[in-house]
């Protein structure tokens, strides 16, 4: 979907470095989500947000931080990257509660 973009598409970083993954949506959707996808685990929720300045932890939030100062942006920061955070990260948005999720193209992050 052109309305939600993630950057960068690929990122290689070293253990211990801070890295921020960007997510921008043009629909003014209220709800935004961050998932990580690993083989055998499907999509696991990291953080979610119901509106600007409202964020909540998902099931795998340790080591991650988010912010949502504007409705359209939902950056995800790895404060001190670890190898276990090597994954594909998907940002998603939805217009209302109970409406479908629209996913970005993902960021493939490798931590060496």
């Amino acid at each position: 979907d052109a309305g939600i973009t993630q950057s960068p598409r690929y990122k290689i970083t070293e253990t211990g470095r801070q890295v921020t993954l960007m997510c921008h949506q043009t629909w003014s959707h209220s709800y935004m989500f961050w998932y990580r996808q690993d083989l055998g685990h499907g999509l696991r929720l990291i953080y979610y947000s119901a509106a600007a300045d409202i964020t909540d932890k998902g099931e795998v939030s340790d080591g991650y931080v988010v912010s949502r100062s504007k409705t359209e942006n939902f950056p995800l920061t790895l404060e001190s990257a670890t190898r276990s955070q090597t994954s594909v990260y998907f940002c998603a948005s939805s217009e209302t509660d109970n409406s479908p999720l629209h996913f970005g193209n993902g960021t493939r992050l490798t931590v060496t």
């Binding site: 709800y31 499907g42 999509l43 979610y48 998603a92 109970n98 479908p100 999720l101 996913f103 993902g106």
Partner: protein, 111 residues
């Protein structure tokens, strides 16, 4: 917490054969959504079911929501190579707007 189990994890079929993936929740769901992810791509929304016993069709795809709203299935008739990908179910329950995803079923279609 809510758990959504999806089986099988992988399914190999010959082109033209049928395919079914099943989704089961530990709690009653308010709705269930299905997504398809092509290899190297991102999940794309297919359909949402809300009513008990609901059945919806999209061409060769048939989606069902159980009477108790705790299970769902996706059936593909006469698979084609374009059906290759991973199919995810995602359920919401208890007034939460947070969908819980199953681990997905990867469909491999052999020509």
């Amino acid at each position: 917490g809510q758990q959504v189990m999806q089986i099988p994890q992988y399914q190999h079929v010959q082109e033209g054969e049928d395919f079914t993936t099943y989704c089961n929740s530990s709690t009653t769901l308010s709705n269930i959504q299905w997504y398809k992810q092509r290899p190297g791509g991102h999940p794309v929304f297919l359909i949402q079911l809300v009513k008990s016993g609901e059945v919806k069709k999209q061409k060769r795809l048939t989606f069902q929501f159980g009477e108790a709203k705790k299970n769902s299935s996706l059936h593909i008739t006469a698979t084609q190579t374009t059906d290759v990908g991973t199919y995810f179910c995602a359920g919401e329950s208890g007034g939460s707007y947070i969908p819980t995803f199953g681990r997905g079923t990867s469909l491999i279609v052999h020509p």
